[in-house]
Amino acid sequence: MSPSYFSAAIPEPFRILGLSLKPLSLGRYRLLRRFECAFVAEEEAAAGVSDLLLGGVICSMRVDEFLEKAGAASQGRLQREIRRWGRRVCPWAWISAVPLVGKWWRKHHAFDALEKMALFRRYLDEGSVVPKYWEEEGGGRSSGAHWAQSVEVVLRGELGWTAEEINEAPLSKALADYFRWAENKGLVRLMTAEEVAYVEERERDARNGEQPTASNQHPIGGDNGA
């Protein structure tokens, strides 16, 4: 079992703008997509501070908790909680708009939007690691369904995951389980640690514009390493 499986199952905890983020899960990914958070857009999109804040709020709560709070009945409660969070992160934020003192205040109290957005991007990237695999013959059929739906259907229908696990279990673990199931079905073959190292080296070379050399030939040979 590769060590990446364990980090997929128990991902590194993230803390952004004072919020402890829960692991990115299929449920939270769905919420991010549903509420149009630009960080998970599949087409080209520009993410702003509001996307970061929305992402932070969604990923710091359980899925059912967010849905309950975002509902009309407890909308005021959510608003109050977010306002309190805003005051904690940027106390007396109006001072930032005052000439002369504003710049000093921003230097000491405001957060750097770009830095936090990069951190949130990293949270998403690390939380949605797809295991490296070789596609086996006949496994390349495409479907019109969104990948999230395909993964959920397999996890619940074939692997017995519950709605709670879909909502809360780390997405990287969900993907690891999904690809393991696909391997059992003969659709893909997961790479060995040696193959992963080889592919990563090839990717690095491709980025640096180098040609493959004798030392970085595919360890198991054949065409499926291309």
Binding site: E36, C37, L54, A72, I82, G102, W105, R122, R156
Partner: protein, 394 residues
């Protein structure tokens, strides 16, 4: 199982639909508004401030934007102020100039540089940051602090002690770590943000120019109103004091516990009798004066409101040209009018300025990106005798 799955997946899609509709048009803007728009604005402005600082400092020191961020982080991790580092770079440039300038002092400094593994060719071709992060750092890790101290003092000045921990940083490892964490702002982004900041300042100036006069008038009126209320209050106080009622009040207060004499009682009665008539006249006069003042203020406020609305309306489309018909046959007047029309009215001119300056800023930005990238990736300044060489050959 299949049915159960479909049911639950469908529920996930629609369960919060009604809540979302009630929540408003956008959850994103709901969250941003609840967080505080000042906080959001402050975050964006801070990023712009950082970009501006990075671009300015990198230009001043001749260090690439990305290299500067690595140096800044190294300084931060060593509890060293970035100011000490920038001042050291400036001293390094002075020492370099002296070393390449020849003479006794130059020869001594050249020797000091040689002790750090820096040749005259290196001095001519590498930036301060390259020298600092390359040969100086390598030698700092290979030499003892006793050996290194005097050399660095001659080159970097007395603050060299604070720089020793920075020099021992593994810059490559630090840069890799920062890139992994996504904390390095690339040159393009920094310059674009810097330009955006300039455009915001420009926009703020334009708004101030257009709304300024009306706002000033509003301030004047508010001042008048405050002064009016203050003088009315003073007059009312004086009235109370000087009116028969006020005089009676004063008499009673001054009298205290002392028994009243016959004359005093008679005087008291006389004043009391006069009170009603005098008070009625004074109140009516004060009412008229107050009403007139109030009407004056309201007219002023209405005018200012109109001015602000007109200015705001024109700001919506500042580049809209004006095409007033000619009303005169006088050639000279026509010429003057045409000259005025070429730039439009004041707002159009400001708008055109904004438009043209945006292009200029973008052009400057592109040049800056090129320049800073050149510093970062191609710091060689050409052969000793070549064109554009910064320092003379030794």
């Amino acid at each position: 199982m299949g049915l159960k799955l479909i049911g639950e997946v469908g529920l996930d899609g629609s369960g919060f639909e009604s809540g979302l509709k009630r929540l408003g048009s956008s959850v994103k803007s709901f969250v941003a508004t609840a967080f505080g728009l000042y906080g959001v604005q402050a975050a964006v402005r801070k990023t712009m401030d950082l970009a501006e600082e990075l671009v300015t400092t990198s230009q001043r020191l001749g260090v690439g934007v990305e290299q500067l961020q690595v140096l800044r982080q190294a300084a931060k991790e060593s509890s060293t102020d970035l100011g000490v580092l920038t001042s050291a770079f400036e001293k390094l440039d002075i020492a370099r100039e002296k070393a390449l300038g020849g003479g006794k002092e130059g020869a001594k400094l050249l020797g000091r540089f040689a002790q750090l593994g820096i040749s005259a060719a290196d001095l001519r071709s590498q930036t301060s940051a390259d020298l600092f992060m390359g040969p100086m750092r390598n030698r700092a890790n290979a030499m003892s602090q006793e050996e290194l101290g005097p050399i660095l003092r001659d080159i970097l000045g007395r603050s060299f002690g604070q720089l020793l921990p920075v020099l021992q940083t593994d810059f490559e490892e630090l840069e890799a770590r920062m890139r992994k964490l996504g904390t390095i702002m690339d040159t393009d982004t920094a310059v674009k943000l810097d330009i955006l900041g300039d455009q915001f300042s420009l926009l703020a100036s334009i708004i101030a120019v257009n709304l300024g006069p009306a706002l000033l008038r509003l301030a004047e009126l508010l001042y008048k109103m405050v002064s009016g209320v203050s003088s009315t209050w003073a007059a009312a106080k004086a009235y109370v004091k000087k009116s028969p009622e006020g005089q009676i009040h004063d008499m009673v207060v001054a009298h205290g516990d002392r028994p009243w004499s016959k004359e005093e009682i008679a005087e008291f009665d006389r004043k009391r009798m006069n009170t009603g008539a005098m008070e009625g006249e004074a109140v009516a006069a004060a009412k008229d004066a107050g009403l007139a003042k109030f009407n004056e203020w309201m007219t002023g406020l209405e005018k200012i409101k109109e001015q602000l609305a007109a200015a705001a309306e024109r700001l919506k489309n500042p580049v809209k040209p004006t095409f007033d018909p000619e009303t005169t046959d006088d050639t000279k007047a026509k010429k003057v009018k045409l000259t005025q029309d070429r730039g439009g009215d004041a707002l159009t001119r400001v708008g055109n300025f904004l438009g043209s300056s945006r292009n200029v800023l973008e052009e400057i930005g592109n040049r800056q990106v090129g320049f800073l990238k050149e510093i970062a990736y191609n710091t060689r300044r050409g052969p000793a005798s070549g064109e554009g060489t910064m320092f003379p050959p030794v």
